[in-house]
Symmetry: C2
Subunit: 205 residues, 2 copies
Protein backbone atom coordinates (compact mmCIF):
# COMPACT_ATOMS: atom_id res chain seq x y z
CA UNK A 1 0.00 0.00 0.00
CA UNK A 2 3.09 2.23 0.31
CA UNK A 3 3.25 3.27 -3.33
CA UNK A 4 -0.38 4.39 -3.63
CA UNK A 5 -0.34 7.43 -5.89
CA UNK A 6 -3.06 7.04 -8.50
CA UNK A 7 -6.30 8.37 -7.04
CA UNK A 8 -9.32 7.94 -9.31
CA UNK A 9 -10.49 11.47 -8.52
CA UNK A 10 -8.74 14.76 -7.86
CA UNK A 11 -11.36 15.59 -5.24
CA UNK A 12 -10.56 12.38 -3.39
CA UNK A 13 -6.82 13.00 -3.64
CA UNK A 14 -7.29 16.53 -2.33
CA UNK A 15 -9.39 15.34 0.63
CA UNK A 16 -6.85 12.60 1.43
CA UNK A 17 -4.01 15.13 1.30
CA UNK A 18 -5.88 17.46 3.65
CA UNK A 19 -6.83 14.69 6.08
CA UNK A 20 -3.26 13.36 6.15
CA UNK A 21 -2.07 16.76 7.39
CA UNK A 22 -3.68 15.94 10.74
CA UNK A 23 -1.18 14.74 13.36
CA UNK A 24 -0.91 10.94 13.50
CA UNK A 25 -2.95 10.44 10.29
CA UNK A 26 -1.04 8.84 7.40
CA UNK A 27 -2.16 8.52 3.78
CA UNK A 28 -3.73 5.11 4.30
CA UNK A 29 -5.79 6.23 7.30
CA UNK A 30 -6.68 9.45 5.47
CA UNK A 31 -8.05 7.41 2.55
CA UNK A 32 -10.09 5.31 4.99
CA UNK A 33 -11.49 8.49 6.59
CA UNK A 34 -12.24 10.05 3.18
CA UNK A 35 -14.11 6.94 2.00
CA UNK A 36 -15.96 6.85 5.33
CA UNK A 37 -17.05 10.48 4.91
CA UNK A 38 -18.10 9.75 1.34
CA UNK A 39 -20.47 7.06 2.64
CA UNK A 40 -22.20 9.36 5.14
CA UNK A 41 -25.27 11.53 4.50
CA UNK A 42 -24.53 14.90 2.87
CA UNK A 43 -26.07 16.62 5.92
CA UNK A 44 -23.76 14.75 8.32
CA UNK A 45 -20.67 15.63 6.28
CA UNK A 46 -21.84 19.24 6.16
CA UNK A 47 -22.24 19.29 9.95
CA UNK A 48 -18.78 17.78 10.29
CA UNK A 49 -17.14 20.45 8.12
CA UNK A 50 -19.18 23.27 9.70
CA UNK A 51 -18.16 22.19 13.21
CA UNK A 52 -14.51 22.58 12.22
CA UNK A 53 -15.06 25.93 10.49
CA UNK A 54 -17.08 27.26 13.43
CA UNK A 55 -14.42 26.12 15.88
CA UNK A 56 -11.72 27.97 13.96
CA UNK A 57 -13.69 31.08 13.04
CA UNK A 58 -16.03 31.64 16.00
CA UNK A 59 -14.19 30.44 19.06
CA UNK A 60 -13.04 33.16 21.47
CA UNK A 61 -10.20 33.35 23.93
CA UNK A 62 -11.07 34.52 27.44
CA UNK A 63 -9.86 38.10 27.97
CA UNK A 64 -8.73 37.22 31.48
CA UNK A 65 -7.17 33.76 31.37
CA UNK A 66 -6.75 33.17 27.57
CA UNK A 67 -8.66 29.89 27.81
CA UNK A 68 -10.90 28.91 24.91
CA UNK A 69 -14.42 30.29 25.41
CA UNK A 70 -17.70 31.00 23.66
CA UNK A 71 -17.92 34.40 25.36
CA UNK A 72 -15.46 37.26 26.04
CA UNK A 73 -14.87 35.97 29.56
CA UNK A 74 -14.83 32.19 30.02
CA UNK A 75 -17.12 30.07 32.22
CA UNK A 76 -14.44 29.61 34.86
CA UNK A 77 -13.43 33.29 35.14
CA UNK A 78 -17.06 34.39 35.32
CA UNK A 79 -18.01 31.77 37.94
CA UNK A 80 -18.70 33.78 41.14
CA UNK A 81 -18.23 30.71 43.35
CA UNK A 82 -14.55 30.37 42.44
CA UNK A 83 -11.56 31.62 44.38
CA UNK A 84 -10.35 34.63 42.38
CA UNK A 85 -7.07 35.22 44.25
CA UNK A 86 -5.44 31.97 43.16
CA UNK A 87 -4.26 31.62 39.55
CA UNK A 88 -3.02 28.34 38.15
CA UNK A 89 -0.61 28.68 35.22
CA UNK A 90 -0.96 25.94 32.60
CA UNK A 91 0.40 25.26 29.12
CA UNK A 92 -2.79 24.64 27.16
CA UNK A 93 -6.52 24.23 27.61
CA UNK A 94 -5.97 20.46 27.85
CA UNK A 95 -4.43 20.97 31.28
CA UNK A 96 -7.34 23.21 32.33
CA UNK A 97 -9.69 20.35 31.44
CA UNK A 98 -7.52 17.80 33.25
CA UNK A 99 -7.32 19.84 36.47
CA UNK A 100 -11.04 20.69 36.32
CA UNK A 101 -11.75 16.96 36.07
CA UNK A 102 -9.94 16.29 39.36
CA UNK A 103 -12.52 18.52 41.11
CA UNK A 104 -9.75 19.55 43.54
CA UNK A 105 -9.12 23.10 42.41
CA UNK A 106 -11.44 26.07 42.82
CA UNK A 107 -9.19 28.93 41.73
CA UNK A 108 -8.73 30.48 38.27
CA UNK A 109 -6.31 29.70 35.44
CA UNK A 110 -3.89 31.38 33.09
CA UNK A 111 -3.26 29.57 29.81
CA UNK A 112 0.22 30.26 28.43
CA UNK A 113 -0.39 28.64 25.05
CA UNK A 114 2.73 26.48 25.34
CA UNK A 115 6.14 26.46 27.03
CA UNK A 116 9.40 28.19 26.18
CA UNK A 117 11.25 26.05 23.66
CA UNK A 118 13.80 27.91 21.51
CA UNK A 119 14.47 24.73 19.51
CA UNK A 120 10.81 24.78 18.36
CA UNK A 121 10.92 28.56 17.88
CA UNK A 122 8.75 29.25 20.94
CA UNK A 123 10.04 32.31 22.79
CA UNK A 124 8.58 33.98 25.91
CA UNK A 125 6.96 36.67 23.72
CA UNK A 126 4.97 33.96 21.90
CA UNK A 127 3.33 32.95 25.16
CA UNK A 128 0.83 34.67 27.47
CA UNK A 129 3.49 35.51 30.04
CA UNK A 130 3.29 39.30 29.75
CA UNK A 131 -0.48 39.14 30.25
CA UNK A 132 0.08 37.01 33.37
CA UNK A 133 2.51 39.57 34.79
CA UNK A 134 0.03 42.38 34.08
CA UNK A 135 -2.79 40.37 35.63
CA UNK A 136 -0.76 39.91 38.81
CA UNK A 137 0.32 43.57 38.83
CA UNK A 138 -3.32 44.66 38.53
CA UNK A 139 -3.79 43.18 42.01
CA UNK A 140 -6.26 40.77 43.57
CA UNK A 141 -3.99 37.74 43.06
CA UNK A 142 -2.48 36.24 46.22
CA UNK A 143 -1.08 33.02 44.82
CA UNK A 144 0.20 31.83 41.47
CA UNK A 145 0.34 28.02 41.15
CA UNK A 146 2.50 26.72 38.34
CA UNK A 147 1.18 23.49 36.83
CA UNK A 148 3.64 22.95 34.00
CA UNK A 149 5.05 19.70 32.66
CA UNK A 150 8.18 18.51 34.48
CA UNK A 151 10.25 18.67 31.35
CA UNK A 152 13.23 20.86 30.48
CA UNK A 153 10.91 23.29 28.68
CA UNK A 154 8.35 23.30 31.50
CA UNK A 155 11.05 23.95 34.10
CA UNK A 156 12.58 26.72 31.98
CA UNK A 157 9.18 28.37 31.63
CA UNK A 158 8.51 28.11 35.38
CA UNK A 159 11.90 29.66 36.08
CA UNK A 160 11.27 32.49 33.62
CA UNK A 161 7.85 33.24 35.15
CA UNK A 162 9.29 33.09 38.67
CA UNK A 163 11.86 35.72 37.73
CA UNK A 164 9.23 37.92 36.10
CA UNK A 165 7.04 37.72 39.23
CA UNK A 166 9.94 38.02 41.72
CA UNK A 167 8.85 41.47 42.94
CA UNK A 168 5.12 40.78 43.04
CA UNK A 169 3.52 40.47 46.52
CA UNK A 170 2.30 36.95 45.89
CA UNK A 171 3.06 33.39 46.95
CA UNK A 172 4.49 31.45 44.03
CA UNK A 173 3.79 27.73 44.23
CA UNK A 174 4.17 24.73 41.97
CA UNK A 175 2.12 21.54 41.92
CA UNK A 176 3.62 18.71 43.99
CA UNK A 177 5.83 16.46 41.93
CA UNK A 178 3.59 13.47 42.35
CA UNK A 179 3.86 13.34 38.60
CA UNK A 180 7.13 11.55 37.90
CA UNK A 181 9.88 13.81 36.60
CA UNK A 182 10.24 13.68 32.83
CA UNK A 183 6.58 12.77 32.25
CA UNK A 184 4.18 15.01 30.39
CA UNK A 185 1.31 16.38 32.46
CA UNK A 186 -1.41 15.18 30.12
CA UNK A 187 -0.55 11.52 30.78
CA UNK A 188 -0.91 11.72 34.56
CA UNK A 189 -3.92 10.03 36.15
CA UNK A 190 -6.57 12.19 37.82
CA UNK A 191 -5.80 10.99 41.35
CA UNK A 192 -2.10 11.83 41.17
CA UNK A 193 -2.85 15.11 39.48
CA UNK A 194 -5.51 15.96 42.09
CA UNK A 195 -3.10 15.17 44.94
CA UNK A 196 -0.33 17.17 43.37
CA UNK A 197 -2.45 20.30 43.08
CA UNK A 198 -3.68 20.03 46.69
CA UNK A 199 -0.15 19.46 48.05
CA UNK A 200 1.44 22.30 46.11
CA UNK A 201 4.67 23.60 47.62
CA UNK A 202 6.49 26.98 47.53
CA UNK A 203 8.45 27.45 44.32
CA UNK A 204 12.23 27.34 44.84
CA UNK A 205 14.65 28.26 42.11
CA UNK B 1 -8.48 11.32 30.86
CA UNK B 2 -11.41 8.90 30.67
CA UNK B 3 -13.93 11.12 32.39
CA UNK B 4 -13.29 14.25 30.34
CA UNK B 5 -16.67 15.93 29.97
CA UNK B 6 -16.29 19.62 30.76
CA UNK B 7 -15.24 21.41 27.59
CA UNK B 8 -14.54 25.12 28.02
CA UNK B 9 -16.41 25.91 24.82
CA UNK B 10 -19.46 24.49 23.10
CA UNK B 11 -17.77 25.03 19.73
CA UNK B 12 -14.83 22.90 20.86
CA UNK B 13 -17.10 20.20 22.26
CA UNK B 14 -19.07 20.14 19.02
CA UNK B 15 -15.90 19.83 16.91
CA UNK B 16 -14.58 17.06 19.19
CA UNK B 17 -17.88 15.20 18.92
CA UNK B 18 -17.84 15.47 15.14
CA UNK B 19 -14.18 14.40 14.84
CA UNK B 20 -14.73 11.44 17.16
CA UNK B 21 -17.39 10.11 14.77
CA UNK B 22 -14.56 9.20 12.37
CA UNK B 23 -13.62 5.51 12.50
CA UNK B 24 -10.72 4.81 14.87
CA UNK B 25 -10.79 8.31 16.38
CA UNK B 26 -11.66 8.44 20.10
CA UNK B 27 -12.49 11.51 22.20
CA UNK B 28 -8.90 12.06 23.27
CA UNK B 29 -7.53 11.94 19.73
CA UNK B 30 -10.44 14.11 18.55
CA UNK B 31 -9.50 16.76 21.13
CA UNK B 32 -5.91 16.62 19.94
CA UNK B 33 -7.04 17.06 16.33
CA UNK B 34 -9.40 19.93 17.26
CA UNK B 35 -6.65 21.77 19.15
CA UNK B 36 -4.30 21.17 16.22
CA UNK B 37 -6.81 22.64 13.78
CA UNK B 38 -7.32 25.60 16.12
CA UNK B 39 -3.60 26.36 15.88
CA UNK B 40 -3.53 26.40 12.07
CA UNK B 41 -4.12 29.43 9.83
CA UNK B 42 -7.76 30.22 9.12
CA UNK B 43 -7.09 29.72 5.40
CA UNK B 44 -5.62 26.24 5.98
CA UNK B 45 -8.59 25.18 8.11
CA UNK B 46 -10.93 26.55 5.47
CA UNK B 47 -9.12 24.53 2.77
CA UNK B 48 -9.37 21.45 4.98
CA UNK B 49 -13.13 21.81 5.47
CA UNK B 50 -13.72 22.72 1.81
CA UNK B 51 -11.81 19.63 0.63
CA UNK B 52 -14.19 17.45 2.62
CA UNK B 53 -17.31 19.30 1.45
CA UNK B 54 -16.15 19.20 -2.17
CA UNK B 55 -15.42 15.48 -1.92
CA UNK B 56 -18.91 14.77 -0.62
CA UNK B 57 -20.85 17.20 -2.81
CA UNK B 58 -18.95 17.26 -6.11
CA UNK B 59 -17.52 13.79 -6.56
CA UNK B 60 -19.09 11.71 -9.30
CA UNK B 61 -19.47 7.99 -9.81
CA UNK B 62 -18.48 6.64 -13.21
CA UNK B 63 -21.57 5.74 -15.24
CA UNK B 64 -19.89 2.60 -16.54
CA UNK B 65 -17.93 1.07 -13.66
CA UNK B 66 -19.31 3.02 -10.61
CA UNK B 67 -15.79 4.00 -9.58
CA UNK B 68 -15.28 7.46 -8.03
CA UNK B 69 -14.54 10.02 -10.72
CA UNK B 70 -14.37 13.74 -11.45
CA UNK B 71 -16.19 13.23 -14.75
CA UNK B 72 -19.22 11.21 -15.89
CA UNK B 73 -16.97 8.43 -17.14
CA UNK B 74 -13.84 7.72 -15.10
CA UNK B 75 -10.20 7.92 -16.26
CA UNK B 76 -9.91 4.15 -16.54
CA UNK B 77 -13.11 3.58 -18.55
CA UNK B 78 -12.25 6.45 -20.92
CA UNK B 79 -8.66 5.28 -21.45
CA UNK B 80 -8.53 4.06 -25.08
CA UNK B 81 -5.38 1.99 -24.45
CA UNK B 82 -7.18 -0.35 -22.03
CA UNK B 83 -8.65 -3.74 -22.82
CA UNK B 84 -12.41 -3.13 -22.81
CA UNK B 85 -13.54 -6.75 -23.02
CA UNK B 86 -12.22 -7.73 -19.58
CA UNK B 87 -14.05 -6.48 -16.48
CA UNK B 88 -12.65 -6.95 -12.99
CA UNK B 89 -15.29 -6.98 -10.24
CA UNK B 90 -14.11 -5.40 -6.98
CA UNK B 91 -15.69 -4.39 -3.68
CA UNK B 92 -14.62 -0.76 -3.38
CA UNK B 93 -12.43 1.84 -5.04
CA UNK B 94 -9.63 0.86 -2.63
CA UNK B 95 -9.23 -2.41 -4.53
CA UNK B 96 -9.20 -0.54 -7.86
CA UNK B 97 -6.30 1.54 -6.54
CA UNK B 98 -4.51 -1.56 -5.23
CA UNK B 99 -4.82 -3.46 -8.50
CA UNK B 100 -3.85 -0.38 -10.54
CA UNK B 101 -0.73 -0.10 -8.39
CA UNK B 102 0.39 -3.61 -9.35
CA UNK B 103 0.58 -2.42 -12.98
CA UNK B 104 -0.42 -5.96 -14.04
CA UNK B 105 -3.98 -5.36 -15.21
CA UNK B 106 -5.06 -3.48 -18.33
CA UNK B 107 -8.78 -4.26 -18.38
CA UNK B 108 -11.69 -2.33 -16.87
CA UNK B 109 -13.41 -2.55 -13.48
CA UNK B 110 -16.82 -2.82 -11.91
CA UNK B 111 -17.11 -1.49 -8.37
CA UNK B 112 -19.81 -3.28 -6.37
CA UNK B 113 -19.73 -0.91 -3.41
CA UNK B 114 -19.32 -3.76 -0.92
CA UNK B 115 -20.12 -7.46 -0.55
CA UNK B 116 -23.31 -9.28 0.33
CA UNK B 117 -23.57 -9.41 4.12
CA UNK B 118 -27.10 -9.87 5.48
CA UNK B 119 -25.76 -9.52 9.05
CA UNK B 120 -24.67 -5.95 8.20
CA UNK B 121 -27.86 -5.31 6.25
CA UNK B 122 -26.11 -5.44 2.87
CA UNK B 123 -28.28 -7.24 0.33
CA UNK B 124 -27.60 -7.83 -3.39
CA UNK B 125 -29.90 -4.93 -4.28
CA UNK B 126 -27.66 -2.55 -2.29
CA UNK B 127 -24.73 -3.41 -4.54
CA UNK B 128 -23.93 -2.68 -8.19
CA UNK B 129 -24.68 -6.24 -9.25
CA UNK B 130 -27.67 -5.50 -11.49
CA UNK B 131 -25.62 -2.88 -13.35
CA UNK B 132 -22.87 -5.47 -13.84
CA UNK B 133 -25.35 -7.97 -15.30
CA UNK B 134 -26.73 -5.28 -17.63
CA UNK B 135 -23.22 -4.24 -18.64
CA UNK B 136 -22.41 -7.84 -19.57
CA UNK B 137 -25.76 -8.29 -21.37
CA UNK B 138 -25.08 -5.14 -23.43
CA UNK B 139 -22.20 -7.08 -25.01
CA UNK B 140 -18.54 -6.38 -25.63
CA UNK B 141 -17.41 -8.16 -22.45
CA UNK B 142 -15.58 -11.46 -22.94
CA UNK B 143 -14.29 -12.05 -19.45
CA UNK B 144 -15.40 -11.11 -15.94
CA UNK B 145 -12.62 -11.46 -13.33
CA UNK B 146 -13.81 -11.56 -9.75
CA UNK B 147 -11.34 -9.93 -7.33
CA UNK B 148 -13.26 -10.20 -4.08
CA UNK B 149 -11.94 -10.85 -0.58
CA UNK B 150 -11.62 -14.52 0.30
CA UNK B 151 -14.05 -14.21 3.16
CA UNK B 152 -17.48 -15.76 3.66
CA UNK B 153 -19.10 -12.55 2.36
CA UNK B 154 -16.73 -12.29 -0.61
CA UNK B 155 -17.34 -15.93 -1.57
CA UNK B 156 -21.11 -15.51 -1.20
CA UNK B 157 -21.01 -12.46 -3.46
CA UNK B 158 -18.88 -14.27 -6.04
CA UNK B 159 -21.33 -17.19 -6.01
CA UNK B 160 -24.30 -14.86 -6.39
CA UNK B 161 -22.68 -13.06 -9.34
CA UNK B 162 -21.68 -16.36 -10.95
CA UNK B 163 -25.32 -17.48 -10.83
CA UNK B 164 -26.55 -14.19 -12.26
CA UNK B 165 -24.05 -14.44 -15.14
CA UNK B 166 -24.51 -18.17 -15.69
CA UNK B 167 -26.19 -17.71 -19.10
CA UNK B 168 -23.91 -14.94 -20.36
CA UNK B 169 -21.47 -15.86 -23.16
CA UNK B 170 -18.43 -14.93 -21.09
CA UNK B 171 -15.54 -16.55 -19.28
CA UNK B 172 -15.93 -16.10 -15.55
CA UNK B 173 -12.62 -16.09 -13.71
CA UNK B 174 -11.45 -15.32 -10.18
CA UNK B 175 -8.05 -14.03 -9.08
CA UNK B 176 -5.63 -16.79 -8.04
CA UNK B 177 -5.75 -17.54 -4.35
CA UNK B 178 -2.24 -16.36 -3.76
CA UNK B 179 -3.91 -14.25 -1.12
CA UNK B 180 -4.30 -16.57 1.84
CA UNK B 181 -7.87 -17.66 2.53
CA UNK B 182 -9.53 -15.65 5.27
CA UNK B 183 -7.43 -12.53 4.61
CA UNK B 184 -8.91 -9.27 3.43
CA UNK B 185 -7.76 -8.16 -0.01
CA UNK B 186 -6.62 -4.73 1.07
CA UNK B 187 -3.87 -6.19 3.28
CA UNK B 188 -2.23 -8.20 0.50
CA UNK B 189 1.14 -7.01 -0.82
CA UNK B 190 1.38 -5.75 -4.39
CA UNK B 191 3.50 -8.65 -5.62
CA UNK B 192 1.09 -11.33 -4.41
CA UNK B 193 -1.86 -9.36 -5.67
CA UNK B 194 -0.18 -8.77 -9.05
CA UNK B 195 0.59 -12.50 -9.42
CA UNK B 196 -2.90 -13.51 -8.40
CA UNK B 197 -4.51 -11.32 -11.05
CA UNK B 198 -2.17 -12.59 -13.80
CA UNK B 199 -2.71 -16.25 -12.83
CA UNK B 200 -6.48 -15.99 -12.59
CA UNK B 201 -8.30 -19.30 -13.01
CA UNK B 202 -11.77 -20.32 -14.23
CA UNK B 203 -14.44 -19.84 -11.56
CA UNK B 204 -15.81 -23.12 -10.25
CA UNK B 205 -18.81 -23.28 -7.97
Amino acid sequence: MCGMQSYPSYLLENAVNQLSKLPGIGKKTALRLALYLLKQDAQDVNNFAQAILLLKNEVKYCKVCKNIADTDVCQICSDASRQTDVVCVVETIKEVMLIENTGQYKGLYHVLGGVISPIDGVHPSDLEIESLVERVKAGGVKEVVMALSTTMEGDTTAYYIARKLADAPITLTTIARGVSVGDELQYADELTLGKSIVNRVPYTK
